[in-house]
């Protein structure tokens, strides 16, 4: 059994910042990350062996990430990549799978920086090869220098899709357009909420200029309603949306593309927090199901901190500030670091964080997915990609007593497959709430059990002796 002062799960902006601060205060820190390199999605590092040959704008974040990772290592942070945290037990012990074997790690303090997933918006044909998230397209480009397709349409909502589209255009991809579901008029009227965010508006303007010089039209109030293809994507149908995001009949248009990238915002990854029993609430302005946390970014469980997108969607800057606060606080709890200086640094980070969170809330509310989009679900549209369960099966075979996500999962098997509900939880919550006439906040969440992700049975074989005794069932 490995033990260390602080374990950080996730090596993105929040995790790196947290680890660096904790290490600087003199505690031993281990960062676990599932991917082959630290950086997460935002600071994605080009794969080993692949070198960027210029300092093009698309590498800005990777470069900053690279220097932050170096700083962390210099501060004494240990990174372990390709390490999947697949379980957590009531005493705070983590089960980790890496290099073909599992082990248990008992951290003194735990900082969860697990990031977020793309929010699934389903429409007929969304499982066709060629339909992918904007995040996937960005990962292919920034990590490997590979374009997702030759004729690409971007559809969704929010600034991220515009950024990815601009990066793709810069790399020479042919984009037929970017569709923003929110109407331009509505964006203009939310303008005052973003007063003072000049740096960000300038960044947005730069992306817009890149798109314009590449002749990529940006269309507002329109989105994809159907993907078409025999085996692979060959075209998409788009339509104008009303204020509720219902497609307006008669406005449909078909576009020939081989790739559709969708981006409808992010959903916090709270799975490990939920497994640990941290309290979760529903807050759509923070991305959906989010953990409760205190001033130190500590969850409802003492000694377990949650930072970054996993604590609510607020962007990389907020993630870094939250990471800093949690990292310093965790060290303080362990009796490391000078309390006065640490207090000053936490206070400074908090001041900056407040305005970041305010900005994030405005952004999340402005670009929130509206309920009309659910009408795109025809009876044969898949809602659970893993178990191939359709909206029709869900609507017609759902017994009336099923009104929570957990019951739906047990009986209809949504969220039972390989992804363990990562992809469908928010989608099924919306659909269930609509069908059962409840609020989304009332349908609850999927019950999380280990393993969080599939692991080989062989990896468990040598673990039985390392595990703590099973929890007392009566406690649940």
């Amino acid at each position: 059994m490995t033990s260390t002062d602080v374990v950080v799960v996730g090596a993105g902006p929040a995790g790196i910042a947290a680890a660096t601060q904790t290490a600087r205060a003199g505690a031993s820190v281990l960062v676990l990350d599932e991917y082959s390199q630290p950086g997460g999605q935002y600071y994605r590092q080009p794969a080993e062996g692949i070198c960027p040959t210029s300092s093009a704008r698309i590498f800005e974040q990777s470069e900053r990430g690279h220097s932050l990772i170096l700083e962390a290592k210099q501060a004494g942070v240990a990174f372990r990549c390709e390490a999947l945290v697949w379980g957590a037990f009531t005493d705070g012990t983590l089960a980790v799978h890496s290099a073909g074997t599992s082990e248990v790690i008992t951290p003194g303090k735990l900082i969860l920086a697990c990031g977020a997933y793309d929010r699934s918006v389903a429409f007929p044909g969304w499982t066709l090869p060629g339909v992918m998230t904007a995040g996937a397209a960005q990962a292919l480009l920034k990590g490997q220098g590979i374009l997702p397709g030759r004729r690409i349409l971007m559809a969704g909502t929010g600034p991220l899709q515009v950024a990815v589209a601009a990066q793709l255009a810069q790399a020479g991809a042919r984009l037929v357009g970017v569709l923003e579901a929110v109407k331009l008029g509505r964006l203009v009227s939310s303008g005052p909420r973003f007063w003072g965010q000049w740096g960000r508006l300038r960044e947005g303007l730069q992306y817009w200029r890149t798109l314009r010089s590449a002749n990529v039209p940006l269309t507002f109030g329109r989105t994809v309603i159907r993907a078409i293809g025999d085996g692979v994507l060959s075209a998409v149908v788009t339509a104008e949306l009303d204020d509720d995001w219902s497609a307006i009949p008669g406005t449909e248009a078909e576009v020939q593309v081989d790739t559709l990238c969708t981006e409808f915002g992010l959903v916090p990854n709270t799975r490990l927090a939920r497994l640990l029993g941290c309290q979760i609430v529903y807050d759509p302005a923070r991305g959906g199901l989010v953990p409760l946390y205190d001033d130190a970014m500590q969850s409802s469980r003492s000694g377990v901190f949650i930072v970054g997108e996993a604590a609510g969607i607020a962007g990389a800057k907020a993630a870094e500030l939250q990471g800093r606060i949690a990292g310093i606080s965790a060290a303080l709890q362990l009796g490391k670091g000078d309390p006065y200086q640490c207090g000053q640094r936490i206070a400074a980070a908090k001041r900056e964080l407040r305005s970041e969170l305010r900005f994030a809330r405005s952004l999340n509310e402005t670009f929130a997915v509206k309920p009309g989009i659910l009408k795109l679900l025809t009876d044969d549209t898949i809602i659970c990609r893993c178990e191939e369960i359709t909206a029709g099966e869900f609507r017609h075979e759902r017994p009336a007593w099923i009104s929570t996500l957990d019951a739906a999962r047990t009986v209809i098997r949504v969220g039972m497959g390989n992804c363990q509900g990562c992809m469908c939880e928010s989608l099924v919550a919306q659909l269930l709430a609509k069908e059962a006439g409840r609020k989304i906040a009332e349908v609850g969440s999927y019950h999380i059990r280990p393993p969080l992700k599939p692991i080989p049975v062989g990896a468990l074989a040598d673990l039985s002796e390392k595990l703590p005794p099973p929890p007392n069932r009566m406690e649940h």
Partner: protein, 101 residues
């Protein structure tokens, strides 16, 4: 359209060339690329078929959705979007009605 190069040459220097075997066919790849990246770059958009027979490709690109799972050197359920290629790697893309073999 399928066979136009998808590898960006402008800003990237490739890793060393490697050859992988995909369902018995040789596919050119470069060190550092993921299986999904290499397959996409070679024009293969279908990475597997589900038990019910529908085709799937890269979806989330970050190892969360498990849509892109393939069999690698005998191991099933490998996420091709986060698994790097290596020389001589044998990739089998799951086919409908032939699960497991």
């Amino acid at each position: 359209m399928e066979h136009e190069p998808r590898r960006v040459s402008a800003f990237f220097r490739r890793g060393r060339p490697v050859q992988i075997d995909v369902d018995g066919e040789p596919v050119q790849a470069f060190e550092g690329e993921t299986i999904a990246g290499a397959l996409l770059a070679s024009g293969r958009r279908i990475l597997r078929h589900t038990p019910k027979g529908s085709a799937r490709g890269v979806f989330c690109g970050m190892g969360a959705c498990f849509d892109c799972i393939v069999e690698v050197d005998g191991d099933p359920g490998v996420r091709s979007c986060i698994t790097p290629v290596h020389q001589g790697m044998k990739v089998r893309t799951p086919k409908p009605f032939q699960r497991g073999k």
